[in-house]
Amino acid sequence: MRNRVFLLDITRCIGCRSCELACKSEYHLAEGQSFRRVYELEWLTPEGLVVLYLSLACNHCEHPECFRVCPHRTYRKRRDGVVIHEAGRCDGCGRCVQACPYKAPQFDQERGKVDKCHFCYARLDAGLLPVCVEACPTGALNLREGEENLADTVDKIPGLPDPILTGPSLRFRLSGRLKHLLNRPNILGSFL
């Protein structure tokens, strides 16, 4: 069912955070809440410090941990793979916040509830791209559909949880010297 993935071209991404701001602006998120976040990975090279940017949101996992741990059945997974958090049922216990390896669900102090990225499902249903993808000025953030179209992508990045855990709908493209990253798994440690 994992037929739609977020595809981040790490070589293209410039860390401008337009994706993050597009989401905040679209959903009027409160201070401290960002359903999509751009993480900075530092990588010391002979030239100096290279900063790589990883734009991450909820990965609409095949085996969502959030779903598994929530005592109130707040989470549901649509047929197309989108994992939705029904804020109405949420009592803010925060178990999902702890359980998700990607820190996707975030606690909203004001409302006393958790919330997270829902893949802009209303837009998807209307044939539109998620706002983060639409706003990305470099084309680094994209959607890809269909397992067969993932040949040029990788699912592992050092520092990210092993995809075997939850089966995230998330792929990466790296080119040039950044490919070396894949062979140097210890260099970054975990950043999430």
């Binding site: 337009s18 597009a22 959903y27 009027h28 409160a30 960002s34 802009c120 209303a122 000025p137």
Partner: protein, 777 residues
């Protein structure tokens, strides 16, 4: 604390206001001014309006703005006629917060305490305009019209409300001084002189054509941060195999993307360019065909006065066929590229030979000594530009901020000329800028019926006011400018200039550390609250800005404010309706030929006015008197700068008398979180960029006993600023870096550290040509 200072100053002002006028703003102070939107919009009254965002990132993005029940709730990129120009950025996506920001200026206000004290009272628009017009009249009667200076910068590209349209008209009609420019122009002055164009003309291939480049040199440009929407063109070229060179002392996000990063010492760019010229000339990499036929290279230069040898107006060349000097445009000649000649007893050599002499000392080894870059890199970059064609140089304004930056511009255009990288698809000539070209610069509109302001380069405004010469300036009208944050030597403004001013009017949206020193404050309308034509930046369109919502509170568009003041002085006829004025502006040959009028523009909103693709100079004819690329500038013979020569900058060089006392060069560059000082107080942007830091290489910080995050003072003889230090390995030793555009600091300001010394022929701010020291507090 830093960001809070602005808030506190403002709150203090607000409290006084409440006490004096009985108006309380507390109701608007709630932080959660928006409730989270629903995932799916409910069926409520909703419309989508297409408009334009236009600060000085020059990207002039078109936005689709959703208005629900009268309130802006959503912003998205609008589809452009050419989809590669669809664009938006993190800053533009925060306009909801900017519109409804609790700190937004809501009413005209009059200062009631001392300047800078923060005590204000609310006044009505009529009171404000009456007062300003009355004071203007009094000053004009007493000292003449040049007692008033309209001061503007680049805060808005709107025709009526922006710094380059309405402000000209207003100053022209008043016959006042118009103080502007002096920023971002030195490199371009050197560069464009050879082309015979103005500094912001459309002399470059449009960005969409850059994808065809094979070699791209970004010179002092952090394009991936400062011009986010140009990046994808560069990256597409790279994905197609182009080699990307970034020349920057700082290992920026942009530099990190490069194949070749040239990490030269700050201020040594000209030496690097001369080294490239040396390599290109000595290794026979010159495009002979282009150099001989399209540039001034074969022109004979007299040894006695270093001017061109002429017959009448025409420079002469040495025809190798007939063995005599003939006008350069004589048919069927084979001019000599180099050599010594004697014509009627006058010793001559060619412009090319002179260039060869100038650069002969700058071999890669010598350049390595000056710049700190290895000789191989000099050879590599030069060879790439000359052989891996088409290519180009995109300059940002990093290298522009040193005293002799015009010489760098001269060197850049010489490099492009000698390598034949002009007039072809895939060439990049400095910067693509479409909106200020003479073909769309309607001077009759700007300055109707012979009205004319006295133009004053902004960098000379301080001296002019202090000396009251050449103009007896007694009043400032500041618009589209955060003057005290975006120009240098802040202490001099406040200590020596301000006391001479009887009136300071400032028009803006927030208390931005200039307004707090004004006497009268006028709340300006936001981009979305105005209707007008927008001058394009780096897109080939003429743009229409539609009004999305009515101005909030009592904000007014600049154009209406001009009209309000002018009509009180009997000059109201110059400020017609939006419809009328926009239609008149479009009434110029280029637009008429293409059938572009205001009705059509209102309908289509973005209309291409340049051919597709736009590639200038394809015919090899330049706008110089000879039609050649005149990289040899006769007008600079008196300074010995007719050809690019290397000179250390004023302060940043190792030879500076300041060097021992102030070992660090201060670089205040643009980052992605603001456009100059706009968006500084946007909560969403502050979340990801909460406070100012001085970035130091850990090595420099440790030498001074400074820890990561420690509070430090950056200082020199001119002033100081207090802020936290951040360890940053991307900054080379010997450099201190602060993001430009911060409004407030705990104490002092980074613009106290900068100076307003300028080179006569560029009149440009040298913001990075500054030395400082840092100490822990």
């Amino acid at each position: 604390m830093s960001g809070r200072i602005s808030r506190r100053t403002f709150l203090k002002g607000a409290a006084v206001l409440a006490a004096t006028s009985g108006v309380s703003w507390s109701a608007t102070k709630a932080y959660r001014w928006l409730s989270p939107a629903e995932a799916a919009p409910l069926a409520r009254e909703e419309k989508v309006v297409r408009t334009v965002c236009s600060p000085n990132c020059w990207q002039t993005c078109n936005h689709l703005v959703t208005v629900r029940e009268g309130k802006v709730v959503k912003i998205a990129p609008a589809p452009m006629p050419d989809p590669e120009y669809n664009r938006i950025c993190l800053r533009g996506l925060t306009h909801i917060q900017r519109l409804y920001h609790p700190d937004r200026l809501k009413y005209p206000m009059r200062r009631i305490g001392e300047r800078g004290e923060g005590k204000w009272e609310r006044i009505s628009w009529d009171e404000a305009l009456d007062f300003i017009a009355g004071k203007f009249k009094e000053l004009r009667d007493k000292y003449g019209p040049q007692a008033i200076a309209v001061v503007h910068q680049s805060g808005n590209y709107g025709l009526l409300n922006g710094g380059y349209g309405g402000a000209y008209r207003f100053a022209g009609v008043l016959e006042s001084v118009l103080a502007s420019g002096s920023v971002d122009q030195a490199v371009s002055i050197g560069f464009s002189s050879a082309l015979g164009t103005g500094i912001f003309d459309a002399y470059c291939n449009e960005c969409a054509d850059w994808v065809n480049a094979r070699t791209i040199i970004l010179w002092g440009s952090a394009c991936a941060e400062s011009q986010i929407n140009e990046w994808h063109f560069i990256w597409e070229a790279v994905e197609k195999g182009a080699h990307l060179v970034v020349i920057d002392p700082i290992y920026t996000t942009t530099a990190q993307k490069a194949h070749t990063w040239v990490n030269l010492r700050p201020g040594t760019d000209i030496a690097f360019a001369l080294g490239m010229l040396h390599v290109i000339i000595t290794r026979g990499l010159v495009d002979k065909e282009f150099t001989l036929n399209k540039t001034c290279a074969p022109f004979l230069v007299r040894e006695d006065n270093r001017l061109f040898l002429r017959q009448g107006e025409k420079p002469l060349v040495w025809d190798t066929r007939s063995g005599r000097a003939v006008p350069y445009d004589t048919p069927d000649i084979v001019p000599a590229l180099e050599g010594q000649f004697e014509v009627n007893g006058v010793k001559c050599t060619t412009a090319f030979s002179r260039l060869k002499t100038v650069v002969q000392d700058y071999n890669p080894a010598k350049v390595a000594e000056i710049t700190g870059v290895s000789p191989e890199v000099v050879v590599k970059v030069a060879t790439l530009l000359a052989t891996n064609r088409p290519g180009g140089i995109k300059f940002g304004f990093g290298a522009d901020r040193y005293h002799h930056a015009d010489l760098l511009g001269q060197a850049m255009i010489t490099l492009l000329g000698l390598t034949g990288n002009i007039g072809k698809s895939g060439n990049i000539l400095g910067m693509f800028f479409a909106g200020f070209d003479p073909m769309v610069y309607n001077v009759n509109w700007l300055l109707p019926r012979g009205t004319s302001p006295k133009m004053l380069p902004l960098i000379q405004l301080q001296d002019t006011v202090i000396r009251q010469n050449p103009y007896p300036i007694k009043a400032f009208y500041i618009t589209c400018s955060n003057l005290l944050v975006q120009t240098s030597d802040r202490n001099r403004w406040l200590r020596e200039v301000w006391p001479k001013l009887e009136l300071v009017v400032a028009v803006d949206q927030f208390f931005n550390n200039t307004l707090n020193y004004a006497d009268i404050i006028l709340p300006a309308a936001h981009y979305y609250e105005t209707e007008e034509i927008v001058l394009s930046g780096d897109v080939p369109y003429v743009l229409y800005r539609q009004k999305v919502i009515e101005p909030l509170w009592e904000a007014r568009p600049d154009w209406e404010i001009y009209r309000g003041i002018a009509s009180r002085l009997g000059l109201g006829q110059y400020f017609g309706s939006i419809e009328e004025e926009c239609a008149k502006w479009l009434d110029m040959p280029l637009m008429r030929q293409q059938g572009i009028d205001y009705q059509r523009l209102k309908k289509e909103q973005a209309i291409r006015f340049l051919p597709k693709p736009y590639i200038p100079w394809q015919d090899g004819k330049f706008k110089t008197p000879t039609g050649r690329l005149e990289f040899y500038l006769e007008k600079k013979v008196p300074q010995g700068e007719e050809l690019p020569v290397f000179k250390w900058p004023l302060e940043a060089g190792p030879d500076s008398p300041q060097a021992a006392k102030y070992p660090l060069i201060l670089i205040t560059r643009h980052e992605k979180f603001r456009v100059h000082s706009q968006y500084e107080n946007q909560p969403w942007l502050r979340e990801i960029n909460p406070e100012p830091f001085v970035d130091l290489n850990p090595q420099e910080a440790r030498k001074r006993g400074i820890g990561d995050g420690d509070l430090v003072e950056v200082f020199n003889d001119r002033g100081h600023v207090t802020l936290r230090c951040r360890y940053n390995e991307a900054i080379p030793p010997g450099v201190a870096h602060i993001q430009q555009g911060w409004w407030f600091y705990r104490d002092g300001h980074h613009q106290e550290l900068t100076h307003a010394r300028y080179k006569e022929n560029t009149l440009n701010y040298s913001f990075f040509d500054v030395r400082v020291e840092v100490k822990k507090v």
